[in-house]
């Protein structure tokens, strides 16, 4: 099943960060063209493989379910971790995959398989969250402080923890969109399908989410300079 995982599209490589001190030269480089192409590849390129895998699962071929699981496990689990928190992520992922396998007979291919799976995973996570009435459990402050105080700890590890913590404090609507767009690399058209909203709503939510996240990080003493040095 590792072969299936290996074929799973990966996020585009990140580029070195530019800080607030980078003036006009930074402005011209701000648009994220390559990301769109990479996200497009991530969602749409494996369509042929997806069709074969779906057919195999429908036929009941041995190992086909597990292959599908391995192809999408990281995406589903990561989404669950960030929407409901690490404590409930396994339960939500299990529920999402059960919905996926039960619903695969009815999957008509109107959307890409990945988009459809994201939709079921998001629904499972949001249903779980509404049942429990809780948001994700952000890392405890002690954990972060322990990492800050520990040696040797790379600064970017602490920064990542702080960003995760800020993400967990975002309203769930903002958080879901920023996870789908900025972390999972989906396009707004796909996000709109997943969430059942307009493309404009997805864009608007994302930009508001980033603004809120920036405020939270700034309140936590994290600015672009800190991000750059992280």
């Amino acid at each position: 099943m590792d072969n299936a995982s290996a074929r799973m599209p990966v996020k585009p490589p990140t580029t070195p960060m530019l800080g607030a001190t980078a003036q006009l030269s930074a402005v011209d480089g701000l648009q994220l063209g390559p990301r769109a192409a990479a996200a497009e590849a991530q969602v749409h390129a494996p369509a042929d493989n997806d069709a074969a895998l779906i057919a195999a699962v429908r036929r009941g071929d041995a190992g086909s379910r597990e292959a599908l699981y391995h192809r999408f496990k990281r995406r589903v689990y990561a989404l669950a971790v960030r929407i409901v928190g690490p404590n409930d992520a396994e339960e939500v992922s299990q529920e999402a995959f059960i919905r996926i396998f039960r619903g695969l007979e009815k999957f008509r291919g109107d959307a890409a398989l990945a988009t459809w799976i994201y939709r079921l995973a998001v629904n499972a996570a949001l249903s779980h969250r509404s049942r429990r009435g809780t948001g994700p459990q952000p890392e405890a402050d002690d954990d972060v402080d322990a990492q800050v105080g520990a040696e040797p700890v790379r600064g970017d590890a602490v920064l990542r923890v702080r960003i995760e913590r800020a993400l967990a404090r975002l309203p769930v609507g903002y958080r879901t969109v920023i996870v789908l767009h900025d972390i999972e690399g989906l396009e707004h058209e796909d996000i709109a399908q997943i969430l059942g909203c307009h493309v404009g709503t997805s864009k608007s939510q994302l930009h508001k989410a980033r603004g809120r996240l920036r405020e939270m990080l700034a309140a936590d003493g994290i600015t672009a300079a800190a991000l750059e040095n992280g």
């Binding site: 960060m17 607030a20 648009q31 496990k73 990281r74 689990y77 690490p86 864009k203 920036r214 991000l227």
Partner: protein
């Protein structure tokens, strides 16, 4: 929320600058932002913040699912499928039985005046003729066929459950297997008596209903025994004890 981009500049909101970062503005709007930012330290700083934020968010770790996740999913799917056929098998004969019961009720309602008239005309007629007469009715033949079909479906469900139970029984002690055989034997006796009653009273749905109730009792007993497996528990009764 309309958050301004910087402490001083109110020209563009953070949301607008975020849209610029993503290349969502028209070429003219993008050029305007670029021109403005070239002379505005606040907006340039906000743009740098947003880009650094996006870059860092995109670089967040992808958590690895625990190794227990797939076995849990696989097990849950297997359990669902294991009992899905049972659910279908139980409902199908019940549906057929209900249909057959409805047919029987219609038959009785329709034929009762005729039967009463015959009784009134020939009070000395032996009861056996009453029982035998409706058998020649095509509708009754049809109803009997439906009953037989429902009974066969029950039998198939019982066979499947017996096969499942046989695997569980392999782990039991001889005493437990003996007790199970005794209880199944008693249920089989009830089924046999009900079947005989149904056979002797064609056209009377009560006999078939009793037979179907006996089948259902055995199916519930077997299903509980299969489901509980090695757990202690009296089959068919939640929280009970194994024989």
């Amino acid at each position: 929320m309309r958050m301004k981009s910087g402490a001083g500049c109110k020209t563009y909101t953070t949301e607008r600058l975020s849209a610029f970062v993503d290349g969502e503005l028209t070429p003219a709007e993008g050029a305007a932002v670029r021109t403005h930012a070239s002379g505005c330290p606040d907006c340039t700083a906000t743009l740098a913040d947003l880009r650094a934020l996006v870059t860092n968010v995109r670089a967040l770790d992808v958590p690895e699912p625990p190794p227990t996740l797939w076995p849990a999913i696989d097990g849950a799917l297997e359990r669902r499928e294991r009992f899905a056929w049972l659910k279908i098998s139980l409902w199908r004969p019940l549906g057929i039985g209900a249909l057959a019961g409805a047919v029987a009720v219609v038959l009785v309602t329709v034929t009762l005046p005729t039967v009463r008239a015959r009784w009134n005309r020939a009070p000395a007629a032996p009861p056996v003729q009453m029982a035998a007469a409706p058998v020649s009715d095509p509708l009754l033949h049809e109803a009997e066929a439906e009953f037989a079909q429902a009974a066969a479906a029950y039998e198939r469900s019982i066979e499947k459950l017996r096969a499942l139970l046989a695997r569980e029984e392999a782990r039991w002690s001889p005493q437990e297997r003996t007790r199970m055989a005794e209880r199944l034997g008693r249920l089989d006796e009830v089924i046999a008596r009900s079947r005989e009653l149904a056979r002797r009273t064609p056209g009377d749905s009560a006999g078939n209903e009793q037979l179907f109730a006996a089948y259902q009792q055995k199916i519930a007993f077997l299903a509980a025994a299969v489901h509980r497996g090695g757990e202690s528990g009296e089959w068919g009764k939640p929280g009970g004890r194994r024989p």
